[in-house]
Amino acid sequence: MLLCDCSKIWQFFILFSGLFLFTETVSVAQTVTASVQSIEPQHISLRPYRIRVDIAYAPAARLNPANRLQIEQQLQQIIERSVGEKWILSEKTTLETSDLTALGIQQNHWLQLASSEGLKRLQAEDLLKRYPDSLFDKLFLISIDPEGIGYRVSGREFDYLSQRLSPLLTKRTFEKSFLSETIFLSMRDLFSSVLTIETVNGDQVTVSEQASQYLTPDPTIGTLEKNFLFLPFFRYLNRNREVKNIQFIPWTYLIMENINRKYATCAISSGLRGILGGSRRRVETLAIQIKPRYAQTNLTLIPRGLSNQTSAGMKVQLSPLDPREVRQRQIAAKKQKEQTNPPPPDSEDYITGEYLTNRSGAITLEADPQHPLIWLYVRSGKALVANVPYIPGIDSEITIQIPDDRIRLNVEGELAVLNGELIEAVASHSMKLARIRQWARNNEWPKVDAGISELESGISPKQIFQDKLNVIQVTAVEEAQSQNNKAAQSRINGLCRETAGRIDRFLDPAGIIDFKTEIQDLKQLQKQDSDDRSSE
């Protein structure tokens, strides 16, 4: 009775103290009605992670209260011993807290299925509703259920600042006494550091990790390392410093490069230009560490806007290089080719994988721990319709929007046919010239004259091809204009310009004039020869 009363008093106290003490920091997320706190004014590197651990024991696990108590005590000891001050499990305040807001290790009585399946079904919104006024930064949801002769320990991490719920992580142990240690290992693997982005300088950002000033006794826990990956997000605040909205920045990742105690620098890898640059009022820019948790990710291409274009059969290339590096390589290769004229190098040697989307427009990307971050190049014919970085394994499903490229692609097909015909016309033309040359060498001048007049009399092949090209170009451009697709218009014009250049080069009428001069010279030469012979 006494305990019950005490807890109620604590709850009441915390509620009021929260209202009074943190009036400035309580905010509401857009999607959830629950209040969400903004960041405290204290520098993030000095602010330890407030940790709450909810452990759900499956009844079938047959762990009695004594066992549970033992597990929790041992877990607390392990955390304190291994993580130290970086994680705080109890609030140093005199105010009472309720079970719902308290830090530390708690038993989870609300999870409907006290198992990995129950954890898997959880959504971030569910947690925000359940813990509207929480004090923790990280909530670890753990379940213990039996598996064979041992136990399955499953866990998920909920980060309060990003309101992100991590994927499920499962570990197994066969010994009851190892449960607390297994839980701790799960927490260690689930834990994702949070950074604030201090300054942005081009492709580099300076960041500060939460609680970075606190060193952990076990350096393998919660310590940043080079090449750690982070997902940046914005927290939009209102005038009262309440969180209005949280937005993860799509196709943008931070890669840890240098670390010191308080600050660290990261490289930005993003498919969007200057997304982190510029100053924003009442916007907190943070990043949360991400790790590939899934073996693979299903990436689905979807048409942008109201387009009904199929995204099946589209080519998606994977590369470790970003577009800038690719461009540099291509330019270098081109220069090298122009200078030394070596055999053309494989311009796509930077491509490490190539996929065709299936009938649903999806591909499956395998997670690669060695090279977690890759660049996706979505191509439609010769055009690059999307290029973004991605870390396969961080989501099970993801979609990417692609613009409608059908008109341009049709033009590409029609130009391929036209180019084929052009090759034939050029070959045929060369053949005719060769035949006339042969006649000229054999002194068959009537035939030569007939041949040349035949060449001149017909409609100029150049004109024919230009007309055909115009038809293709005008039709396609009009169609693109009707769809207000300026990108397509520009690309179509580019493609047609290229073909027009080819027509000019190969079917230049000046060629016939030169040829006639050549034949005339040959004729004179032969005439001189015959005159010389007759005079002799």
């Binding site: 059969g313 080519k315 065709l356 014919g381 097909g413 084929g420 070959a427 045929s428």
Partner: protein, 847 residues
């Protein structure tokens, strides 16, 4: 020289002596002047002899005696001058140049002398003298001595000559010796020499016959019985009564028949027996084997009767056919064959290859199309093509699209006609099989089907519904698939007959006929579900596809009655069969399109100039008219620009034909060679086993060789089929598409099906067009897309459509019930009715 001169002198003196000794009063030279000279010569001889001859020489024999004469060797006979031997009454021999008249000089002189007494009576003294002189001349033989250089010509009185052994006789004697020593080849050559020297020389025929006989014996000894029989027949033609010939023929043929029977080749045995009986009808061997064959066939017929009593009609007809093979002349055969054939009709089909043969040609061909049609019934099948394909179903009583095409409800038939040969199909069979097609990872998973179908539910034993994700352009085409599942009906049926006999083969619900037996060169198909036992008339129960190495052999088999149908008939032979009363020629509803396709993985053929060079270098019109149609029926073939029937609505008639242009082909080949950066690599071509395709392929290769591109044809042999990673660059395909909107994609991917992954080989624009075509929801846009794609594919030379040739099948008139214009050869096969063909006993021929 001296010896020779002396010998000549000696011979002359001897001759004089002989003439004197033999009491001849005169020896005259041939001409008028000779009589004066001869005595002079004799005088000279007389005068000179005592001076020239020494006492030792007198002791020498004057002339050789006939017993001493050696038969000249083969070499002497062939190389030395021919000489005759004149054997005197005293057995001395004069060696002279060939005397005339010959042969039988003495006989001819005697006859002439006898006839001289019948001369007309002389009217004057001059005539009397003349006749006397002429008659006197007949008493003399003109001769020229060999090795006598001066005046070698003499005449000798007929009376003093006992015998003349001519040069030809000497050859004959040598031949006799050669035959005795079994030097048959030399004897044969000498006979040839003799025949050339003097045709019909007396004794020549005997030697020749003797030689043939000995040759036959020799071949018999060396077990070359075929040759031995040929010699025997030859000899029989010359001398039927040649001693020992009948016995030898009997021995040889007996051995040959025994061997043929052991091989099971009765037709061969009959052929040998007939050859023997033609020569010696009463020969013991003939009787023996006739009895043996008759007994054997009787025994087999008895077996057939036994099998029929036990209702094993397949065994019965098999035995009856076997009996007809063993001895077609069995008088019981006709009736037995008719009885069992009516109960269990069997049709033999002559084919050039069967679907179960291993071949490196991995794509669909005539045999696989036939096999597929014969063994599987899809839920929907094309019944006719009239610009667009029209579908029918044997399984559905009703089907109806609902919910704006998003759902289709199907009601299955619950009863079938007796002639139908497939098991009863239930909704659960279909739904299970179709579910497998939309289950990723399942062996029957079909990506394209999955993209259309969301789910399948069976609402009652004979009704089911399909829910679509995408409305298909034609539900019938999507459902034109066989159901690969064992029939559930057997588990729910109360029919005792079904449960008693364990099935010999596993039968699937879509099975029409199943493979009963696969022998070398023969595949037998039987009905999946046999007809009931109490019918008045039975439809075909078994189809035997008998393989022949060439079309000519199958053609021969059809004429001989070994087979009743030929599924393949070259267009050039159509008129021949149309004129025959015992055959019907049936034209297929759609022609067979011949197309060249390139391996997308072949590096050189990625070069568009090379593909175009290949296209321009072949004179399609010439090959079609001269090689394939033989200028006889030009209407039976047409040039095409797409790999499907020109009569289809989707065929773009606006695409112009690519004309043969050799100079352009050369120019393009040179351009492509620059891109390759060296000489053209030798290209490998796979070709459909269809004889027309094979013939055309050879012509194409010649055309390509003219522009410097070497292409080798990969032989369609089992050895090539066993090779791993068979490399090919070009494939010559034959196709008969009825629904190009749906079939073009799997066609272009060369056996990789309609999967997105298979489109990787194409440029993006073409890939997207094919997907767009696949996803088209209305006919107009699908047709427009296909026509555009047709133009682009042709223009880019991704494929080289060649021509389409009408297909013809030949049926003997004993078969009824086939379709007038079948789409596939085995259309309507369950309703084919046949009567037996009785073997023509008189036309036993060697196979």
């Amino acid at each position: 020289m001296n010896i020779s001169a002396r010998k000549i002198g000696f011979y002359l003196s001897s001759l004089t002596l002989i003439l004197v000794a033999s009491g001849l009063s005169t020896v005259f030279a041939q001409d008028e002047t000779k009589p004066n000279n001869i005595p002079a010569k004799s005088d000279t001889a007389k005068n000179e002899t005592p001076e020239s001859e020494s006492p030792d020489e007198e002791k020498e024999p004057s002339l050789p005696r006939i017993e001493e004469m050696q038969i000249p060797s083969v070499e002497d006979l062939l190389k030395k001058k021919p000489v005759d031997w004149i054997v005197m009454e005293n057995d001395l021999v004069l060696i002279v140049e060939p005397v005339y008249p010959r042969p039988d000089t003495l006989g001819q002189l005697d006859t002439a002398l006898k006839e001289s007494y019948n001369w007309p009576k002389p009217k004057s003294k001059e005539e009397i003298d003349e006749q006397r002189k002429m008659r006197a001349a007949l008493n003399f033989i003109q001769l020229t001595l060999v090795d006598e250089k001066e005046n070698p010509e003499y005449q000798i009185q007929r009376k003093s000559v006992k015998q003349i052994i001519h040069h030809e006789d000497q050859i004959l004697k040598r031949i006799d010796q050669l035959l005795q020593t079994n030097q048959l080849r030399t004897a044969f050559e000498m006979l040839l020499v003799l025949d050339r020297k003097h045709h019909d020389w007396p004794g020549f025929d005997q030697r020749q016959q003797q030689l043939l006989f000995l040759e036959a014996k020799d071949r018999q000894k060396s077990e070359q019985y075929g040759n031995a029989l040929a010699f025997i027949e030859d000899l029989h033609g010359r001398s039927p009564e040649f001693p020992g010939l009948s016995r030898l023929a009997g021995e040889v043929v007996d051995t040959m028949i025994t061997q043929s029977v052991q091989e099971g080749s009765f037709r061969k045995a009959h052929s040998y027996l007939k050859r023997l009986s033609d020569m010696f009808p009463r020969q013991q061997t003939v009787t023996k084997w006739k009895d043996s064959f008759l007994n054997q066939s009787e025994a087999i017929l008895n077996k057939a009767d036994q099998a029929a009593k036990q209702n094993q009609f397949q065994q019965a007809i098999h035995s009856a056919i076997e009996a007809s093979t063993v001895w077609p002349a069995n008088p019981r055969l006709h009736e037995t064959l008719l009885r069992y054939h009516n109960r269990y009709p069997v049709i033999n089909v002559g084919v050039i290859e069967t679907a179960l043969d291993s071949s490196p040609y991995f794509l669909e061909r005539n045999s696989t199309r036939r096999h597929q049609k014969l063994t599987q019934i899809p839920l929907f099948e094309v019944s006719r093509v009239d610009q667009t394909p029209q579908y029918q179903s044997r399984f559905f009583e009703q089907w109806e699209p609902t919910d704006l095409g998003r759902r289709a409800d199907f009601i299955l038939r619950q009863s079938y006609a007796t002639w139908e040969s497939h098991p009863i199909l239930m909704a659960a069979d279909i739904s299970q099989s179709l579910r497998n097609k939309i289950t990723p990872g399942h062996s029957e998973y079909d990506e394209r089907f999955d993209s259309f179908v969301n789910s399948i539910t069976s609402t009652a034993p004979f009704t089911f519904s399909i829910y679509f994700d995408r409305v298909p352009l034609r539900t019938e085409w999507l459902m034109a698939t066989p159901i690969h599942a064992t029939p559930l009906w057997n588990h729910v049926s109360n029919d005792a007959a079904n449960s008693t006999a364990p099935p010999k083969h596993e039968i699937l619900v879509s099975n029409r006929f199943i493979v009963d037996q696969h022998l070398p060169h023969q595949v037998s198909y039987v009905r999946a579900v046999p007809e009931p036992t109490d019918l008045r008339e039975y439809n075909v129960a078994q189809i035997n596809e008998i393989q022949y190495p060439t079309f000519e052999k199958s053609f021969q088999a059809l004429l001989l009655g070994e087979v009743s149908v030929l599924p393949f008939l070259p267009a050039r032979l159509v008129s021949f069969f149309q004129e025959q009363e015992e055959f019907n020629v049936v034209q297929s509803a759609i022609p067979l399109s011949h197309v060249l396709q390139f391996n997308p993985e072949s590096a050189p053929l990625k070069i568009i100039e090379l593909r175009r060079a290949l296209a321009y270098s072949i004179d399609r019109q010439k090959i079609l008219t001269e090689s394939l149609l033989h200028e006889s029926k030009l209407l039976n073939g047409r040039l095409i620009t797409a790999p499907y029937y020109t009569g289809l609505q989707t065929y773009n008639q606006q695409v112009p034909q690519r004309e043969y242009n050799f100079p352009l082909a050369v120019a393009l080949a040179v351009a492509s060679q620059k891109k390759i950066g060296g000489a053209f690599p030798s290209l490998q071509m796979l070709c459909d086993p269809n004889p027309e395709a094979q013939e055309a392929a050879q012509e194409l290769i010649k055309g390509w060789a003219r522009i410097g591109i070497k292409v080798t044809l990969i032989p369609n042999t089992a050895i090539e089929a066993e090779k791993q990673n068979l490399k090919w660059d070009i494939v010559y395909r034959t196709v008969n598409m009825t629904e190009p909107v749906m079939e073009l994609w799997p066609f272009l991917t060369v056996g990789k099906g309609a999967q997105i992954a298979s489109l990787e080989i194409f440029p993006d624009w073409m890939r997207q067009k094919l997907i767009e075509l696949d996803e088209a929801t209305d006919w107009d846009s699908a047709t427009a897309l296909l026509k555009k794609l047709h133009h682009q594919l042709y223009s880019m030379a991704h494929i080289i459509p060649l021509w389409e040739i009408d297909q013809f099948h030949v049926f003997r008139t004993n078969i009824k019930g086939y379709a007038d214009r079948p789409l596939n050869f085995y259309d309507n096969v369950e309703q084919w009715i046949t009567t037996p063909i009785y073997p023509k006993i008189e036309s036993f021929t060697h196979k």
